[in-house]
C-alpha cells in the first residue's frame, strides 16, 4: 500500500497532538507534585524521619494502626514511620532502605500483627507508587507473584512517574475545599474524632471489616513470606523485634468474626512463625479498649486521647523489656 497524503497528515497531527498532550500533562504533573504531594503525610513523615534519623532508636512500622495509635512524642528516641494501607511487602522494602542508611542507628523495630495484616486484599494494593518507588524493588515484587504480568509492571512505573493519574478529585478538593493538612508529630497523625458519637457503629464496623477481609485469603502466603523476611532482616541486623496487636473496638472485633470464623488459623500460623525467631516479643492489646468507644476515632483506630493513653501504656510495658528499658 502506498503512503498517501492523508496518512502523512494523520501521522503529523497525531505526533503534534501527542506532544502538546505530553507537555500539558507533564506540567500538570509537576504542579501536582509541588502543590499537593510534597505536603502529604507520606512525604512529611519521611522527611521528618530523615531529619531526625540519627537520634531514633525505636521505630514503629506498619499500617494505619500504628500510624494512628502511637504518639512517639511520649516515647524517647522513637519515631512512627508507619503508613496507611502499608503491607508487609512495603514494610520490608522500606525497612531495607532505612537500614541501609549509614546514619540510621536503630535498636528496636515494632511491627503490627493485626487480624487483617495477612489479608490478600493488601497484596495488590500498593498505592502512591510515586512514594514507594524510592523503596520498592518492583522486579523482586513481581517475581513473587505469578499472577502479575509485564503489563502490571509498566502500569506501576507509569503511575509512579505520573502520580496525577486518577487524582482529579484531590485537585478539585485542593482548589475548592481547602482542607487543613493533617497534624503530624514524629510521624503520628493526630485525630480528635470520636467514634462514640457515631450512629450505627456496628454497620460501620461491618463495612470496615468487609473492605479488609471479604473475598480475601486471610493468610496470604506472599504476605507471610514478607513478614518472615522482615523478621529475618531485623535479626540479621541484631535489632530487637516487638510485635503488637493493636487495639480495636468491640464492634469491629464482632464484625471481623463474620469474615474470619476461625481466628485460631491466624494465631496458630503466627505462633509457628514466631517460634523460629526466639527473641521476638509479642504484646496483645486487641481487646484492651473494648467498651471504650470514646478513645477511638473510628472502628479500629484510636483518636488523640486513645493514642496518648495507649502509648503511655506500651511505654510502661516496654520498660519491662530488659533490652530496651534503658532507652525509655
Amino acid at each position: 500500500m502506498k503512503i498517501t497524503d492523508d496518512m502523512k497528515l494523520f501521522a503529523r497531527r497525531i505526533v503534534g497532538f501527542g506532544l502538546v498532550l505530553f507537555v500539558v500533562f507533564g506540567l500538570l504533573n509537576i504542579g501536582y507534585y509541588h502543590l499537593i504531594l510534597s505536603n502529604t503525610v507520606l512525604e512529611r513523615s519521611y522527611s521528618d524521619f530523615l531529619e531526625h534519623r540519627e537520634n531514633i532508636r525505636i521505630l514503629f512500622m506498619g499500617d494505619s494502626h500504628p500510624k494512628r495509635d502511637i504518639n512517639p512524642a511520649l516515647i524517647n528516641y522513637s519515631f512512627n514511620l508507619a503508613d496507611v494501607g502499608e503491607s508487609y511487602i512495603q514494610t520490608y522494602h522500606k525497612l531495607s532502605t532505612v537500614l541501609n542508611d549509614p546514619l540510621v542507628d536503630l535498636y528496636t523495630v515494632v511491627l503490627p500483627l493485626d487480624l487483617h495484616s495477612f489479608s490478600s486484599m493488601r497484596t495488590d494494593r500498593i498505592k502512591n507508587e510515586w512514594y514507594w518507588d524510592r523503596f520498592i524493588q518492583y522486579d523482586e515484587v513481581f517475581s513473587q507473584d505469578t499472577n502479575r504480568s509485564i503489563f502490571d509492571s509498566v502500569v506501576w512505573r507509569f503511575k509512579s512517574w505520573f502520580p496525577i493519574i486518577s487524582k482529579g478529585q484531590e485537585l478539585i478538593e485542593y482548589a475548592f475545599v481547602r482542607r487543613e493538612s493533617s497534624e503530624l508529630v514524629k510521624g503520628y497523625i493526630i485525630s480528635y474524632d470520636n467514634y462514640s458519637m457515631s450512629s450505627d457503629k456496628s454497620i460501620w464496623a461491618f463495612f470496615r471489616a468487609q473492605s479488609q477481609l471479604e473475598d480475601s485469603e486471610i493468610m496470604d502466603p506472599i504476605l507471610v513470606e514478607y513478614f518472615k523476611k522482615c523478621l529475618i532482616l531485623c535479626t540479621e541486623q541484631n535489632l530487637h523485634i516487638i510485635l503488637i496487636k493493636y487495639p480495636i473496638s468491640e464492634h469491629y472485633y464482632t464484625a471481623v468474626h463474620q469474615f474470619i470464623p476461625n481466628l485460631s488459623l491466624i494465631n496458630d500460623t503466627i505462633e509457628t512463625i514466631i517460634t523460629e525467631f526466639p527473641g521476638v516479643i509479642m504484646l496483645d492489646y486487641q481487646d484492651f479498649f473494648f467498651g471504650r468507644d470514646d478513645v477511638f476515632m473510628d472502628t479500629d483506630h484510636l483518636n488523640k486521647k486513645g493514642a496518648d493513653l495507649f502509648t503511655s501504656l506500651i511505654r510502661n510495658d516496654f520498660k519491662n523489656i530488659t533490652t530496651i528499658c534503658d532507652l525509655i
Binding site: M1, T4, D6, V24, S166, I172, E173, F206, Q210
Partner: protein
C-alpha cells in the same frame, strides 16, 4: 500497510490472539461455532430437499445454542430443577459444572446463528472463504460485547478495498475517546457507589437505594455504550463500519422507543429471528401480546442465567403490552389535559415516565439475587430518615459530585445530538478549538478516570 489480499489473515490472527489472551483453550469454542455454522450454511445452501435443509439448519442452531446452553445455562437449569423438586419433596441430585463462562459467548453464538438462519431463508449466499467467515465470527472489536453484527453488513466489508482516510480515522479516534470517557470516568466511578449499596442491600433503605438505582441506570448505559463506541471507533479506524448500538436511550419517550435506542443490535436480532417467526403483530391481539412477552423473557435470559434477568425481561415485555393496551387512554388523557399544546412538557413527562419504568427494571438486572431485588423494591420508599452518609456510599461527596457533573455533561452532549445539532459543529471550528476540546477530554479521563474495572457486558 499490508496488501489487501493478506488483510484478513492479519485481522483473523489478531482476533484470535485477542480472544486467547484471556483463556487460550476457549478459542476452540470459537472455532467450533465457526466450523459448525460454516459447514451447515454451505450444506443447506447446496441441498434442494427441504428436510435436509432443515436438518442442517437444526445442526447449526444446536451447535451454537448447545455451546451457549452448556456453558451458560446448564447449572442454572440444574439448580432450578433442584429447587423445584425440593419444593415437591422429591429427591434430585443436581450436577454442578465447574466451568468458566467463555467471554463473549452470547454475542458470537447469536452472530453465527443469525448468519445460518439468513442462509436458510435465502437472504444471502453462504461465505465460501473459511478465513473470511472465521473473521466475521471473531472480528476482535466486537467479539466480546457486540454489536452483534449482521452478515450482510460486515461480511462484504472484509473484501472491500481499503484506502486510509484521514477524516474516517479521526472520527474513529473521537468515538473511541468518547467511549473511554463514558466507561472510565462515568461508569467505573459510579460503580463504586452502586456496588457498595447493591452488594449490601439489607443495610440500606429509602434514599440510598433510590440513589444507587438511578446511578446504575447511567452506569450500565455508560459501560455498555462506552464499549460499543470503542468497538465501533476501532473498527472505523481500520475502515469498517459497524452498526449503531445505542441512540441516547434515556431520551426515549416510551419503552417501545427505548428498545429502538438500547442495544439495537440485540433488539433487532430478536425482532428478526424470534419475534417475526413467532408471528410478530400479524396475529390475533392476545397472541401478539404473548409474542412480546416471550421475546423479552428470552432476551432477559440471554443476559444471564438467573431469575433476576428473566424477571427483568418479563417486566419489559409487560411494559410493552401495557403501552399498547393503554394507547387510547393515554391519547385521551393528553387531549384532556391539553398537553398536546405543550410539546416540551409532554416530552418531559414521557421521558421521565419511561426513565422511571426502565430504571425500576434495572433493579432486577443489577440485584445479586431475587431476594435482594425483592428487598430493594419493598424498601425503596421506607426509612427516608437514614441519610446518605458518605462513609456508607464508598465515595466522598466530591467524588459523587464529579460523577454527577460528568453525567450531566454527557446528557448535554446527547441533547445536542438529539436536536440534530451534531458534534460536526466541532469539526467546523479552528484546529486550536478542536484540539482544546480533545485535550480536555483526555485530561478528564486521565485525572478522573477509575481504571482496572472490566466491562459489565463481558459476563454475558
Amino acid at each position: 500497510m499490508l496488501p489487501q489480499k493478506y488483510r484478513w489473515m492479519l485481522l483473523l490472527g489478531a482476533s484470535y490472539y485477542f480472544y486467547m489472551s484471556w483463556k487460550p483453550e476457549y478459542a476452540l469454542l470459537l472455532l467450533i461455532a465457526t466450523l459448525t455454522n460454516y459447514c451447515c450454511s454451505i450444506l443447506l445452501f447446496n441441498s434442494h430437499k427441504s428436510a435436509l435443509r432443515k436438518m442442517y439448519l437444526f445442526i447449526g442452531i444446536v451447535g451454537s445454542i448447545g455451546l451457549l446452553f452448556f456453558f451458560k445455562y446448564f447449572n442454572f437449569l440444574n439448580n432450578s430443577l433442584g429447587h423445584f423438586f425440593q419444593s415437591l419433596s422429591i429427591e434430585f441430585t443436581s450436577l454442578e459444572l465447574q466451568v468458566l463462562l467463555p467471554i463473549g459467548i452470547s454475542f458470537f453464538t447469536f452472530q453465527t446463528l443469525g448468519y445460518t438462519i439468513d442462509v436458510y431463508r435465502g437472504k444471502r449466499t453462504p461465505e465460501r472463504h473459511f478465513g473470511i467467515f472465521a473473521l466475521y465470527v471473531s472480528f476482535f472489536p466486537q467479539l466480546v460485547a457486540g454489536p452483534i453484527e449482521r452478515a450482510k453488513n460486515l461480511l462484504p466489508q472484509f473484501r472491500q478495498y481499503f484506502e486510509f482516510s484521514y477524516s474516517r480515522a479521526g472520527d474513529g479516534l473521537k468515538l473511541m475517546l468518547w467511549g473511554f470517557f463514558k466507561k472510565i470516568v462515568i461508569a467505573d466511578s459510579i460503580a463504586i457507589v452502586v456496588d457498595q449499596i447493591y452488594n449490601n442491600v439489607e443495610v440500606y433503605s429509602g434514599t440510598p437505594l433510590i440513589f444507587a438505582t438511578v446511578l446504575f441506570a447511567f452506569q450500565i448505559f455508560c459501560d455498555f455504550s462506552g464499549y460499543s463506541d470503542i468497538a465501533i471507533g476501532a473498527a472505523k479506524i481500520m475502515g469498517f463500519t459497524l452498526m449503531d448500538n445505542f441512540r441516547r436511550p434515556y431520551f426515549a419517550r416510551s419503552v417501545v422507543d427505548f428498545w429502538r435506542r438500547w442495544h439495537i443490535s440485540l433488539s433487532t436480532w430478536f425482532r428478526d429471528y424470534l419475534y417475526i417467526p413467532l408471528g410478530g403483530n400479524r396475529v390475533p391481539v392476545p397472541r401478539w401480546y404473548l409474542n412480546l412477552v416471550i421475546v423479552f423473557l428470552v432476551a432477559g435470559l440471554w443476559h444471564g442465567a438467573n431469575w433476576t434477568f428473566v424477571i427483568w425481561g418479563g417486566l419489559h415485555g409487560m411494559y410493552l403490552v401495557g403501552y399498547y393496551v393503554t394507547a387510547k387512554v393515554r391519547k385521551n388523557l393528553t387531549g384532556m389535559f391539553g398537553l398536546d399544546r405543550f410539546p416540551l412538557v409532554l416530552a418531559g413527562i414521557q421521558i421521565g415516565t419511561t426513565f422511571i419504568l426502565v430504571d425500576f427494571g434495572w433493579i432486577f438486572f443489577r440485584a445479586n439475587s431475587l431476594s435482594d431485588a425483592v428487598y430493594i423494591v419493598t424498601h425503596l420508599f421506607t426509612g427516608f430518615g437514614n441519610g446518605l452518609e458518605t462513609t456508607w456510599l464508598g465515595m466522598s461527596w466530591t467524588g459523587i459530585m464529579i460523577a454527577v457533573c460528568a453525567i450531566v455533561a454527557m446528557e448535554i452532549v446527547h441533547l445536542i445530538q438529539e436536536k440534530n445539532m451534531s458534534l460536526q459543529l466541532l469539526s467546523m471550528r479552528p484546529v486550536w478549538v478542536r484540539w482544546s476540546v480533545y485535550l480536555s477530554l483526555i485530561l478528564v479521563i486521565l485525572l478522573f478516570g477509575v481504571f482496572e474495572r472490566p466491562f459489565i457486558y463481558f459476563q454475558f
